[in-house]
Amino acid sequence: MSPRRPPPLPVVQDAESAEAAPLSRRSFLQVAGGAVAAAGLSACEIEGTLRRHFKELGKPELAKILESARREHEKRFGAKDWKVGAEAARPGVELGYGLDLSRCIGCRRCVYACVKENNQSRDPQVQWIKVLEMDKARGVDIMEADPYYEADEVPRPGKFYMPVQCHQCRNPPCVKVCPVQATWTEPDGITVVDYDWCLGCRCCMSACPYGARRFNWAAPGIKAEEVNPDIHLLGNRVRPKGVVEKCTFCIQRARAGRYTACVEVCPVGARKFGNLLDPESEIRYVMENKRVFVFKEELATHPRFYYFYAT
């Protein structure tokens, strides 16, 4: 199917770098990006602060919240084909992910596809996927990993690449430490965050062994034309400042039976995604036929995110 040795590709450079941004765009971001009022809370934040925990919401209450979230996004980013949902997990589905380390070439297309899909802040930058460049001679040695490699062409000789994102653990340390139950694992295996419930204490960031959680140190800045209007309340809605976020396996896509953005964009097919409970799924094929391992298995987090070597 795909060639053993994929052709070299240019690495996707950081087009959104805040340093490189001209001043005019910066000031534009401050308006369009709607850096929430310099002091105090926005109406949405106040409303979010006063509601119940997501899991305690009744249907009519949830509908009201979805509608007000839709209005809030529309007000901030203008008219779009907004779809704001909170689709529940499908029965009989447990999502799993496979990443082929022998294929990944470190082009970072997944990183930016994810940012685009999941409405992460562009200024300051928030990215859910981190690609580590490591020496083939050393194997997986994170102390020698370089997450900021820059190259005209990847893969570079003697290097291999290991993307890291939320591992959707079966035994998630982040969920255990959250003082307010603002983060939990859904029946389909996705660990989500209720952004309106999060305290911003960052216990979960201390607890996560994969560095998968991101904090909104400032109000997210996103240009109106860049916002993805297909939104899940527990996933890619635009976050308030001062809360934690993370990869949700593109919950808005996964629950509609679609591939995640990172799977779709990967030019070398290094990323596999599917239902672990379906014996016919690609991810099951990978697990049964390839040499699969999990990252930091000594911590017994039991990830639903597997690395493997296909070749």
Partner: protein
Amino acid sequence: MRINRIALFLKGCARLVTSGGRWYWAWMALLGLMILVGAAGYARQFGRGLIATNMRDQVSWAFYIGNFTFLVGVAAAAVLLVVPAYVYAWKPIKEVVVLGEMLAVSALVMCLLFVLVDTGSPQNMWHMLPFVGTPNFPRSMLVWDALVLNGYLLINGTVVIHILYRLFNGKEYDKRIVVPLVLLSIPWAVGIHTVTAYLYAGTPARPFWNASILAPRFLASAFCSGPAILLVLFQVLRKTTKFPISDEAISKIAEIMSYAMFVNLFLLAAEVFKEFYSATEHIVFTRYLFFGLHGHRALVPYAWAAVICSVVAFLLFVIPRTRKNVYTLNLGCLLIFSGVYIEKGIGLVIPGMTPDTLGEIYEYTPTVNEWMVAAGVFGIGFLVYTVLVKIAVPILDGRFQVGMDKPLEVAPEGRPAH
């Protein structure tokens, strides 16, 4: 009748707090300034978000949480006075125990404020409350910490207010209230520092913290730094008020401290041996702290300063001659306080996260904004202690009691009588 008494008490307190000499007002003005600076810093941080700090995803807890951790130790140290005072009814300490309990109260106020200023969405703090919120109890260590810290504040606050109010009314404290509370406060004091240690020790993602020795180390260092503050405070109070603090009390506390310092250094040595002799991949954090990593050496001078402070202080305290000499004693207090402050405030939180879980090194140093907010929190804490002492001292030495019309004119504050 009782309401009248309470009103009288409060009125008297207000009068005590609002009267004082030039130095008193200078001190209060300084505290007011610190609080204003803190308020300005916090307003800015609240508006912009925690980006006003230098914390980032790699080092997501830092200066605020370090200060919090240190102050939990100060609060826990009150128990070193409580045990000899109430369990052994040893008179020299019993006379001063309330000063230790008041220190615990002020330290706790600062602890809770440091947690508050560290949260990104403080308006959601109520989600931790039982019934209205969804506390993750008993799984989350932060919920346990909130519980034990608030409980300890309540216990110590109640004891202090009860003792002072009874003395104001010319009566001894009610044993039925104070004894059970004080007995409860002993394991509770151990509890606040243990739970705070568990907040770190319970994260296997951070091998530097994930050590069973962490809670014992926390307690040992707390029993060094807390009493160091008390010893200095006692001497200040002896100079500025007529409050009787015996040499015996001071030398007994100093003696207990020397044991604590030994245990503290011993546990540090045990940890350092384990790390360097095993030399697993987990050594990077300790190496970053003491020697730097890949040319990043921001913490190295602090780490060694802390070790030197702790060792010299131990020597000053363990040699009877230097322990009894007022100058070397105070020097030792200053050194051990600095040593533990660096160790808990900088040397615990930051190296735990440097390098981060994916091996990245982000060198953290606090921003001016963080210093401003911290100054505000310390300002509030010192203000609480000052107010409490200002009220307590005239009550304890019998100048402020019910029936005395103008207690303040009986013996003005500010200068020693002799």
